[in-house]
Symmetry: D2
């Protein structure tokens, strides 16, 4: 069962400066850097909830890899500018979470949305001694924490 | 006027090994690396046509930045594996080009499509002494070269 | 004339978390990430002094590229750990600055120095419409600000 | 016992184009990219000898992490230029190998050495289910293959 996003929430906010190594010879941020920032914001979001984006355990590891990403680039972003990633939880499913992200820069003439991203991630586990990851149901406590923090309505049966 | 893709063409092929620095602690390729490979394939495609993906000229520079990217990750890709990027020209517009890319790995049990990407790029110029890029019509010769190489039908009025 | 470092100073402190994209398949931070952190710390140091690590001006740009870097890796550093870069100004010359950096992680059993780096950077300028960078004397005000902040003794004739 | 380098050998050659994502806003290659190229050359060297730079085995993994790197930057390197990494084996010890690398670009007015690097790597293993790497003696066959390919003299007692 999937919850509807609560439109009142601003989402999780993550601020990041564009580092020199994030730019390219066009004197703009390289397009992949914004996708890294989106992953950083997601992991910071988990951390704020006491969840690990990647965790080593006695019997194996857990992770939350991406299965799909998208980004639209709307305005230039340059070295040393500070960008705010506004991460929105759009949907929490049994094994997957869908996020949207607005990348916003404060400019002298007002806030500028320089890019809009989207990603779907899945909960996965890997046994020690194996290379193979397998998708798994998101633990209920984790699913609820993400949904609640993301402003989603958690139903009777959970999200 | 837009041309239809010619389904007979295999597109432009670009081979690349997954380098150690392209991987992450999940022991898989980091998701942004495939997006870099897609840009590398595109620039190699231009190079094969005598076109520069970025060019310094007496009065300014020309470039071909991305305005939108997307990637779906279908199967794992690991250190030292060789991946073939099959770049398809899907559409050539006045100022923009739309590409699709299949990422294919030869495995003992047959070819595996590990990811599918898409990107829209625009032709742009910047004057020396200015930071501002501006979209510009793709030069006719360049537009035709890309369309023809991409297997698109070039109409009487050009693509 | 070169000043002696003041051994009492802790240097400029810059904290950074190891992001997922900074790691590799050995499940450690990739060795180049620490070198990026060292550059980030340096640029943050300049910023704290009102100096730009890279600046666009009407007639050209100024930058502070590296001419030499070195790093020794002493202990493992992993995903999600926080590392403190302790940047020390070792020498300020007419056109160059030499830095050392200790990378320190707080661990349950005490602070651990996980790496030690060193770099020499030069002040350089480039005219708009030219690709060529040229080394230039560090502006006096900038040179003094860096030396003083770095705990160096500025002599009568400046550093 | 350490062998002397054979000065007649050109070392292992690895060619690489500077990709767009390797550059920065100074319109030069970012300094860390050359260090990545050095690692790529090293892994290509191992591959040419049938050695894996990182290997998954039933009981654990083997790898060859860096314990020290250095690079001096001598001349500019830019987008789309091709650079040749000339990797020299300088010393093979029980657990470590020391390399030097010249980065050479063919320019209209002759070859230009744009950078000179150096690195020391160690052979290491990690058991499945453990995060801890431990240095280990380089297997004799591997040590000999590297020394011979690198033009070192292998003595009676091995290198």
């Amino acid at each position: 069962m999937t919850s509807e996003p609560d439109s009142s929430g601003p989402g999780f906010l993550y601020r990041r400066r564009v580092e020199f190594s994030d730019t390219d010879t066009a004197q703009l941020i390289h397009f992949t850097a914004l996708l890294r920032y989106m992953e950083e914001a997601e992991h910071a979001f988990y951390r704020s909830l006491g969840i690990a984006g990647y965790e080593w355990r006695p019997d194996g590891v857990t992770g939350i890899p991406r299965v799909s990403v998208r980004c639209d680039y709307l305005a230039p972003l340059r070295y040393a500018e500070e960008v705010e990633v506004r991460l929105l939880v759009k949907e929490v499913r049994t094994k997957a979470i869908r996020y949207e992200a607005d990348f916003v820069v404060a400019r002298p003439d007002g806030d500028s949305t320089v890019a809009k991203g989207e990603m779907t991630v899945v909960y996965a586990t890997r046994q020690h001694g194996s290379l193979d990851w397998a998708g798994a149901p998101i633990p209920t406590e984790m699913k609820n924490a993400i949904a609640v923090a993301g402003g989603l309505v958690v139903g009777d049966g959970g999200v």
